[in-house]
Symmetry: C2
Subunit: 399 residues, 2 copies
């Protein structure tokens, strides 16, 4: 027999090679089954191109199989995107969702919570779910959180809207806008769909992210003990918050225990608290800890503000309220400015003036449009009062 | 000696295991070095998180390492993106580039050729290269291809521009626009940087792709023998091409040999060639074969048109010229309409009216904006003359 002709030494070699090949194949199979597969579709093309037979729109047998995205399987924080929207906002929301998915979420697949004062349409749910790589959840806002509270004098509120309309103050005559500001100020974080989460990233229609975010920003928040992060800061319309600061001062006086020892009062007041300088973080973008709003301090603060009626007798926005609370209740080191994300919400742009940052993160924005260091922005003050290093060349983009 | 204590049978086994382990490690290393690594950053996080030490902007040790994109290493066609741009177009070009990278090129890493009538600035090269996943190339257009040819009567050309300006025809008084139309019609494919390629995808500033393209469109073109593909078709301004058709008819009469037996004359003429119906593919988007333009037929056709002076005595666009050539010289089956890409160039949108297509491809557009089936579009005619099946519900979006 031929076998007898093989010397035992060689026989051993052959067995070894044979076993090595088996090991090789085993490893290859294991790697494929643990998601550690080719990100360029090489492997999937072997399987998929056999099954894809559509030769009209995509000649399955002759073209590479679709390069399908892989699910993220690394560590994740208890975090979610959250969007307050109406059914009619669907198509102005899609580019914003795509931008967030493109630049960040397709890599991490975080959940997305949508809240509405009425039921979301099937189309809204179907289309947003199709675009989002994480789990989508749709909630309705409890009626009592989206109406005039009993303690509000309807006539007084109506007069305010009339006056503001005459003065041409934006949204001055809007009731829903006031419901929205009050909801974002005191209720969104109490919605049952938000109960499981520790952090949230607020997204609104028509926004855009300009740069790649290749790391988990929620993990960044947690590991660096950041509780509130912003991209753009600006001054509020004084007309809309005439009594907000005096109402806040009443609270501070009666609740010294809630004021953080290392607070950031110097960001929101230029005279040690006597007056509010109107500086606030633009809350259409927020990456923050839900615990901040769930705290006793903020709960008491919101109730105090709400009872005063300013949401309806004036037109208090959630931005100055969130900002004042963050500045008073947090350690100044817990508030973070993201210069590397790049953000747009009409009409303001955040586009790092540091070209290294823009190139490293593939930002598709024009630094000439950046609002960060302009005089009407408060971010220069944020860097100054916190002794942070401003990006090189920032003066070139200031006015 | 211990060695003697090991029975030869076991010794063989140990050697085998040892070799298997070596094989195992080898395979693992090879896989990592050929891009066949985890697409979810699992592997890179092992290496990267040790090296990333920046704890201020990204706490390297505590947050997952950056999820870095993997290079595509599958089969690729000889294809490139091509953009004619000026240095001042840089920032209006970036969102267009990002859109193409996001929806298609980050998965396939095709090259990108930029052409300009003057040297590209270092900033232009640096920033575009940072955003593009493929190799970028920058070329200058030969002077003789970007000026009035000797055979053009300067005074006659000037009079045309004056007349068109008075009639308020868009770009009617522009010389550079005419250089551009002539260059896109007869020269871009002859640039030395285009020599290595078989297919190109034309991209212009301010455009956007609305849907994911998870397969290689260039391979789709090749395997399906498509030579010209479009997303939007429309009717040309008659004023700008008064003598284009009669000049084309002269060519057809004298060059019957170039006319394809299965041509698509019925798309560009409603009276069997007597007159041009103004239908053309909107050439700011083109995925096409360079061989079409390099052919004897097109070379002769372009020369005939160029000599007639219509680029300067009128304001011939490259769109009707490319479209007429494709319709006459190609087999009608070699012309393709992409309904699944989704495309925007102000002011027109291509957004599939088929929701299944939009959801499958994560399109972030509003079908209500779709121009495809509107009366001023010629795509309905394209489907009709070619006996193609229109998407379901197309009538709902027609006007």
């Amino acid at each position: 027999m031929l076998r007898d002709k093989i010397p035992s030494g060689k026989e051993r070699l052959y067995k070894t090679i044979g076993l090595a090949v088996v090991a090789l194949i085993t490893i290859f199979v294991i790697l494929n089954n643990t998601g550690v597969t080719s990100s360029n579709g090489l492997i999937s093309s072997i399987t998929s191109s056999v099954t894809t037979q559509d030769s009209k729109t995509a000649d399955g047998l002759k073209q590479p199989a679709p390069v399908s995205p892989k699910k993220y399987s690394g560590h994740k924080e208890k975090a979610t995107f959250v969007t307050l929207a109406r059914n009619r906002d669907l198509y102005s929301l899609l580019p914003a969702i795509r931008s967030v998915e493109d630049r960040f979420n397709r890599k991490f697949n975080y959940d997305w919570v949508f809240l509405n004062d009425e039921e979301f349409s099937e189309e809204f749910k179907r289309v947003t779910t199709a675009l989002i790589s994480g789990t989508t959840k749709y909630g309705v806002i409890p009626k009592e959180q989206w109406q005039l509270p009993d303690f509000i004098d309807k006539e007084k509120a109506a007069n305010t809207r009339k006056e503001m309309a005459e003065k041409g103050i934006i949204y001055g005559d809007s009731i829903p806008y006031r419901y929205m500001c009050r909801y974002e100020s005191g209720f969104f974080y109490r919605h049952e769909l938000m109960a499981d989460y520790e952090y949230y990233w607020r997204v609104e229609p028509d926004v855009k992210l300009y740069c790649d975010i290749d790391y988990d920003v929620f993990r960044f928040m947690k590991k660096n003990d950041k509780k509130y992060a912003f991209t753009i800061s600006i001054k509020e319309y004084a007309e809309t918050i005439k009594t907000l600061w005096e109402t806040t001062r009443e609270f501070i006086t009666s609740h010294q225990e809630y004021i953080n020892k290392n607070n950031m009062l110097d960001f929101i007041s230029d005279d040690e608290g006597y007056s509010y300088n109107l500086c606030h973080f633009w809350s259409n973008f927020e990456i923050a800890s839900l615990d901040l709003w769930r705290s006793d301090a903020y709960t008491a603060y919101f109730d105090h503000l709400d009872k005063s009626g300013g949401f309806f007798y004036e037109r208090w926005g959630d931005a100055p309220i969130h900002s004042i609370a963050a500045a008073l209740f947090l350690d100044r080191n817990q508030i973070h400015h993201f210069d590397n994300i790049g953000y747009y919400h009409p009409p303001f742009h955040s586009c790092s003036v540091d070209e290294d940052v823009r190139m490293k993160n593939k930002c598709d924005c024009n630094p000439a449009d950046d609002f960060t260091w302009k005089s009407y922005s408060c971010t220069t003050k944020f860097y100054t009062v916190n002794g942070l290093t401003k990006p090189k060349n920032w003066q070139i983009y200031a006015d």
